[in-house]
């Protein structure tokens, strides 16, 4: 039973050794010539500005939340749309109504968000 896990152990050991040996060898034998430019924060090649521990505008969170809601909506709609064609006619009507209710609830969320001024960006 447990023998079947041996290959996994071997691969874990090899990958651990590989990582440790490579990093320690390059730290020990590699040349160390630090300068100000090298030690500064890497920010995609741009000059770093300010501190990373900053307060973000609440708008970013709002956009993130809206994104997640509509992202998940799509995830649910895909299987719904794909299986729709395989249904018989009364089932189709039923599943259309259920899908519409789902979309309608999310639409109300969007209307609420819009009227509360969450999408205003200034």
């Amino acid at each position: 039973m447990l023998e079947s896990y041996i290959p996994i152990f071997i691969i874990i050991t090899i990958s651990l050794l590989f990582a440790i040996v490579n990093i320690s060898f390059s730290t020990i034998f590699g040349p160390q010539r630090p300068n100000k430019e090298k030690l500064s924060t890497y920010e995609s090649g741009v000059e770093p500005i300010g501190s990373a521990r900053d307060r973000f505008s609440i708008k970013y969170y709002m956009v993130a939340v809206s994104f997640i809601v509509f992202d998940i909506e799509v995830v649910f709609l895909y299987p719904w749309a794909v299986s729709f064609i395989t249904l018989s006619k009364p089932e189709m009507i039923y599943s259309f109504i259920v899908g519409s209710v789902f979309l309608f609830i999310l639409l109300i969320g969007l209307i609420y968000e819009y009227k509360k001024g969450v999408l205003k960006w200034d």
């Binding site: 039923y94 609830i105 109300i108 209307i111 609420y112 009227k115 509360k116």
Partner: protein, 477 residues
Amino acid sequence: MIQLQDFNYIIPLLIITIGATVTLVIDAFSKNKNVVFWFTIVTVVAALSTAFIHIDIATIVFNNFIRINILSTTFQVLILTAILISVFSSKSYIEKEGINFGEYYSLMLFSVMGMILMVIGNDLLLVFLGLELMSICFYVLAGFMRKRIKSNESALKYFLLGAFMTGFLLYGIALMYGVLGTTNISTISSAGELIKTPTFLIGFGLFMVGFFFKLGVFPFQMWVPDVYEGAPTTITGMMSTAGKIAAVGVILPIVVSLASNITTFRPVFSVAAILTMLIGSVIALSQSNVKRLLAYSSIASAGYIMVGIASMNDWALKGIIFYLVAYVFMQLGAFIIISILEQNSSDTNEFKNLELNNYKGLAKENPVLAIFFTIFLFSLAGIPPFAGFWGKYYIFYAAIQANLIWLSIVGILISVVSVYYYLKLIVYMWFMDSDNTEYSQDVYRVSPLTNFAVSLTIVGTLFFGLFPEVFFNLFKV
């Protein structure tokens, strides 16, 4: 396949769901907050009246997912009554405290939706869904006074501990599923010998832990005082009544139907009951804040409910339900009166006029409020002509029927201890002179809606105290 007539049985739930969604839209389009308030009232009243339609029916619908019987109907009615009274009392309070937002009402309605799902759910996953819906709304409502540090503390504590305890609950459900291969409550109730396997018992224990947290049973009671103190007072009233009813509405039918197979849990529940009553009653003795005092008293009440749960018989079912009926009226009434006496403090962002000392001489300045508060406190203490007495009586009767005589004796002794702090508050109100010179008469200008809410609670406390049998004639539990 779901039948169309299945929807007949969940009309209250549908009304609440539609109402909660529509209040959001109304709030977004209308500047007038009264519209949201009155729409909420109409929704809850409609749901409450339709809840009675299926009072004599016992059936299981929606592919074994929804259970409609006298128990679930009774719990629905209790929850909706508690919400109706809280909504009535909320309007003037949230106007006074400057948190008059329409979301307050829609969050309340969404939490009711969760509670109803919990009590009618016949599947652990549905129960879990309802519990989360209820809890998330409570987390937000507890922190609704967002500029007040206490309120933020309350919301954060409740959220972190609640999320942690949800983990226990889910793990319990997973273990039960692992043993029985189902999450359906009816199937679990009739599973027979498999229930006695250790894995299932561990799962069941963890499941109960999740609900004991919501009830505030020892050793999961530490969040109660902090959360109840920091939340808006009307919300505290709602959390301590409706939220508890929903949690009891889930565990009570399960415990009673499994009773013969889980007798191993009886000593555990008994000890938890005693420690809960003890902690609630003894720590309340030294409280100086009225809201904290009532929070500890609600821990003690959870202890009495636990006495019933430990007895696990049909008498316990009746006793606990009657205790909850009394509890809705007396606890909500007490919190509404506290919310009336609380002073507006938007300048300092602290709660004001909530100390015991502020209640000195209340009887001289406003005798009516003092009389009402006294009645609620007597009822909470369990003094005869009021509903609270019969609640305790039935619960201890159930314990005696279950041969837990020692438990009922200890419970009654602790209940005597708890009379002290209720009487202390009464003495402060009636027999001490006010030392507060800056007391303004504005405090006593109570709005008619709040008056109506208080009258409902006082009528309930007196009526069910004088005629306890009326309830059981109506709901043949």
